[in-house]
């Protein structure tokens, strides 16, 4: 029988290396995707992702088991991203252009079904503009959008990750979508 994330985490707290490896296997892609989407910088995201698993290894014992492991771990990743971003703000401004040049391609996943190439191009441009607008949102709004749209977390789960009320998550999401709508409608 496959062990739950929570059970694995309890084993990690008892220094079970195999359990740790399994959790790494299950969560590395998600951690990488989230860290990259927050930081938009491959090296930083790599650093944060590894650090998140080190923290998991060190602090598995403090996982209470009341929340789901996934929300707890998302919180670890997000906190590390915030901390990383704050410490490296001046550096990031400098390095940003270079990183964007290397960039992870937009729209690689699930291209929209369309047969008209012109329509498709216009659509891709709109979506690129939309995600660029996501990147410009205030950090908390952006986090709620990423967690809900990209990680497919429910409002309740996002509230757990961000340690705030569901009402607050709804307000953030509402404001974020309002801003994003304006971006699309201006085009």
């Amino acid at each position: 029988m496959e062990l739950s994330d929570e059970a694995l985490c309890r084993r990690v707290a008892e220094r079970d290396e195999a359990a740790f490896d399994l959790l790494v296997e299950r969560y590395r892609e998600r951690a990488w995707r989230l860290a990259w989407s927050v930081l938009r910088h491959a090296e930083d995201a790599r650093d944060v992702t590894q650090e998140a698993f080190v923290r998991l290894y060190e602090a598995a014992g403090s996982f209470g088991g009341r929340a789901r492991f996934s929300t707890w771990f998302y919180r670890v990743v997000l906190n590390l991203c915030l901390d990383h971003r704050r410490r490296n703000r001046w550096w990031r401004l400098w390095a940003r252009d270079e990183d964007e040049a290397q960039g992870g391609g937009l729209l690689e996943r699930q291209p929209a079904p369309s047969h008209d190439p012109v329509d498709q191009l216009g659509r891709e441009q709109t979506m690129s503009a939309l995600w660029a607008a996501v990147d410009r949102l205030a950090p908390r709004q952006r986090a709620t959008v990423l967690l809900s749209v990209q990680e497919e977390l429910s409002t309740a789960e996002i509230a757990t990750v961000l340690k705030c009320s569901e009402a607050t998550v709804r307000v953030h999401l509402h404001r974020a979508l309002k801003t994003l709508r304006q971006t699309v409608e201006r085009r």
């Binding site: 996943r109 809900s148 709804r170 509402h174």
Partner: protein, 160 residues
């Protein structure tokens, strides 16, 4: 139309509302073309976003694993130190620093009745406190470098 259910539209569209709230929003949408339009736009926006999530750049997982291993090994010696009871003088000084931080921080000053902005202030403050705390931890770490060195050797001999 008094109360437009603005922030309920996203959870409504995502089917996350409790039955009573869902009912309330649905009834409102029947009578309010403005909110109906908003709900349609929100649904389209969420679908478009979900379909076009930017893919992260490819990563060499083998190398990433090796780096993670190295990081873990590097931290293990220090780890043992973390679990030791904090010496009395050190914990007293840490408590002192925390007290000063708490006083300097003062009580939270929410800017309005808006729950988002209140929590934003509190969270920001908490994050800032955490940052300062980690700075304190790093300082403590430097003071205890000798002990850590000793512990590293201990771990090496017991494992090797």
């Amino acid at each position: 139309m008094a109360n437009h259910p603005d922030s309920d539209l996203v959870p409504y569209v995502r089917g996350e509302l409790a039955p009573a709230d869902r009912e309330r929003v649905a009834r409102h949408l029947e009578d309010c073309p403005e909110c109906r339009e908003d709900a349609t736009a929100v649904r389209a926006l969420l679908e478009n976003l979900a379909r076009s999530v930017p893919a992260p750049p490819p990563i060499h997982w083998g190398r990433w694993r090796a780096e993670l291993r190295a990081r873990l090994d590097g931290r293990r010696g220090r780890h043992a130190w973390w679990w030791r009871p904090v010496p009395l003088a050190l914990s007293a000084s840490l408590a002192g620093v925390l007290l000063v931080l708490a006083i300097l921080g003062g009580p939270p000053r929410p800017t309005g009745s808006d729950p988002a902005s209140v929590e934003e202030v509190l969270l920001g403050r908490r994050l800032e406190l955490l940052r300062q705390l980690s700075l304190v931890e790093r300082l403590d770490l430097l003071e205890d470098l000798d002990i850590i060195g000793q512990l590293d050797r201990l771990t090496a001999t017991s494992e090797g």
